[in-house]
């Protein structure tokens, strides 16, 4: 489990996070939602140690994040940033292979190859395994990068707005795939989402942030209400329910 205690962060004198306390339990899909500038990406980057924590602490499975070595952390937690370069001349298969770097440092073992094959199959990338990234569509590219992070075989996977620039078909298939795989392989996925409907539709837990603070956390059915939207996003929108899940009428 990821345990965040009293975490504050400043960038250029501005408070980005204020005394954040949050527990993310093992298993399932946790969505981080909130308006622009709420501090979601910063929180994610601190958990992945892309930046050093300024005050407060983060523990992963009871270990202090500061004390975990680079190599160990890479076998425990993977992060996929918001902006993924599209011009790389890497084949899909090689990219997924990079996900095995924490284990074999580039010299792929038979076990690595087996994992790569499995991941290529689970993400339906077999047909385009030899294509270069710069020839793929946005949806295929996001799928390839996600597959790389998946091949890293970590207990925790952090995704920063993976649905950016994806059309509805690619977004839905990616979310459904992640939810299914997280359940099958008992992994924990933390995902920053812009669209509250995707969070309500696929996530097991929703954590809502605003102005650097956690304002609400819980199951989608419990927390996505009209009052919630007005409090977190400052917008008056109607919420209906379809198939037991809340749906925001936009």
């Amino acid at each position: 489990m990821i345990r965040i205690r009293n975490l504050s962060h400043q960038i250029a004198g501005h408070d980005i996070l204020r005394n954040v306390d949050l527990d993310i339990s093992k298993g399932g899909l946790t969505a981080l939602v909130g308006p622009n500038g709420a501090g979601k990406s910063t929180l994610l980057s601190l958990v992945a140690r892309l930046a050093a924590t300024q005050s407060g602490g983060i523990e992963i499975n009871g270990l202090d994040l500061k004390k975990i070595s680079h190599g160990d952390l890479a076998q425990l937690l993977a992060i996929l940033p918001q902006v993924l370069t599209s011009t790389h001349r890497i084949s899909v298969q090689d990219l997924v292979g990079f996900g095995r770097y924490p284990y074999s440092h580039g010299r792929l073992t038979p076990k690595d190859r087996q994992v790569i094959e499995q991941v290529l199959a689970s993400f339906e990338l077999e047909g385009i395994r030899h294509r270069f990234l710069d020839t793929l569509s946005g949806g295929q590219r996001q799928r390839a990068y996600t597959a790389m992070a998946w091949a890293q075989d970590t207990e925790y996977l952090l995704l920063d707005e993976p649905l950016n620039n994806l059309d509805i078909a690619a977004s839905r298939s990616l979310m459904a795939r992640l939810k299914r795989l997280a359940e099958q392989e008992r992994r924990t996925i933390v995902i920053v989402l812009h669209d509250i409907n995707y969070a309500a539709g696929y996530a097991d837990h929703i954590v809502a942030m605003k102005a650097g603070e956690i304002v609400e956390a819980g199951a989608p059915e419990a927390i996505v209400t009209e009052a919630f939207l007005s409090r977190v996003f400052d917008t008056e929108a109607q919420v209906t329910h379809v198939a037991g899940r809340p749906l925001v009428v936009v």
Partner: protein
């Protein structure tokens, strides 16, 4: 496909090397081969060193336009040299053995460049234009400082410096050549060992962290290797600004691979072909007295302009 291209590159390099050694040879074969062999070795070494340094720099900055010389690496080398001549005086400077001077120079350059460029790379290198501008300004600053100091020193000291400040492929010091070959070889071996790590470091700012490759330490190590390679090539022939860029863009064109295990050897081969082939065509076939540096710089400059303009339009 890659294997075939490597084969062709190797073949072309062999052919131009043999032609370089034998074409138009007069008089004693033993002397000609020894004399030209030395020249050939230095051209291959320099071509390889500059190409490797360029690819490495592009790998850690994640862009394919910057080169160590555009960022002022070799200008820094000359500044350090100038300051040493200024501090020691030409007498003291020429008394020191070349080998010692070389290592002194190398040490100072490594420290200075790691300090300076690590600082520059620290706050996100994503803004390409800012990096290019910073580099060009740094280069101009280093060059102006050098020429300021050169004005302060007396003519005999200046003469010592002048021979070091212009690219010259024809006269290469035999003592330094052996030493440089050793250094470059060791660097290449280290790079070969860390080739997989280089593939990961090239992926950007975030993914190397996620994959456990610690980009900060990686960048420092790579900067150190770049300093060694630049010192070697600048000490041997002086500054060449655009050769690296010419070779690296050719390499990416010819070898569509992400793996440094492919890119680095190909760049070394292409660097050798460019210099040896260029010298062969200029000297033996066209019988021109134009220094090779002028032609390479002209071509490389055009490639630089092309890359910048194309980048701007997309």
């Amino acid at each position: 496909m890659l294997r075939r291209r490597f084969f062709w590159l190797l073949l072309v390099l062999l052919v131009v090397s043999v032609l370089f050694l034998t074409l138009g040879a007069k008089g004693s074969w033993g002397f000609t081969l020894w004399f030209r062999g030395q020249k050939l070795a230095s051209l291959l070494l320099i071509g390889g060193a500059i190409s490797t340094a360029t690819i490495l720099f592009q790998t850690i900055t994640h862009n394919r336009i910057l080169t160590p010389s555009i960022m002022g690496f070799d200008a820094l080398f000359l500044l350090i040299l100038t300051m040493m001549v200024f501090g020691l005086g030409a007498g003291g400077y020429t008394q020191l053995s070349k080998v010692w001077l070389f290592f002194l120079n190398l040490g100072v350059l490594t420290l200075a460049s790691v300090g300076l460029f690590a600082l520059l790379l620290k706050d996100q290198s994503s803004d390409l234009m800012r990096m290019v501008l910073t580099g060009i300004i740094l280069g101009v600053m280093f060059r102006s400082l050098s020429s300021l100091i050169q004005r302060l020193i007396d003519p005999s000291e200046f003469a010592v410096l002048q021979s070091a400040s212009f690219a010259r492929f024809n006269r290469v010091d035999a003592d330094l050549l052996l030493l440089s070959a050793g250094l470059v070889l060791v660097t290449w071996i280290c790079l070969w060992i860390m080739r997989h790590r280089l593939d990961i470091l090239a992926l950007g700012e975030v993914l190397p962290v996620s994959l456990g490759a610690d980009p900060k330490r990686g960048q420092l190590v790579v900067l150190m290797f770049i300093s060694i390679l630049v010192s070697v090539s600048t000490a041997l022939v002086g500054p060449v600004a655009f050769l690296g860029l010419l070779v690296s863009s050719l390499t990416y064109r010819l070898i569509p691979s992400w793996h440094h295990g492919h890119i680095l050897p190909a760049a070394v081969l292409i660097g050798g072909i460019t210099l040896v082939g260029g010298q062969l065509v200029l000297e033996r076939i066209l019988k021109l007295e134009t220094p090779l540096a002028v032609v390479v710089e002209c071509l490389g400059g055009l490639v630089f302009l092309f890359l910048i303009l194309r980048k701007g339009s997309t």
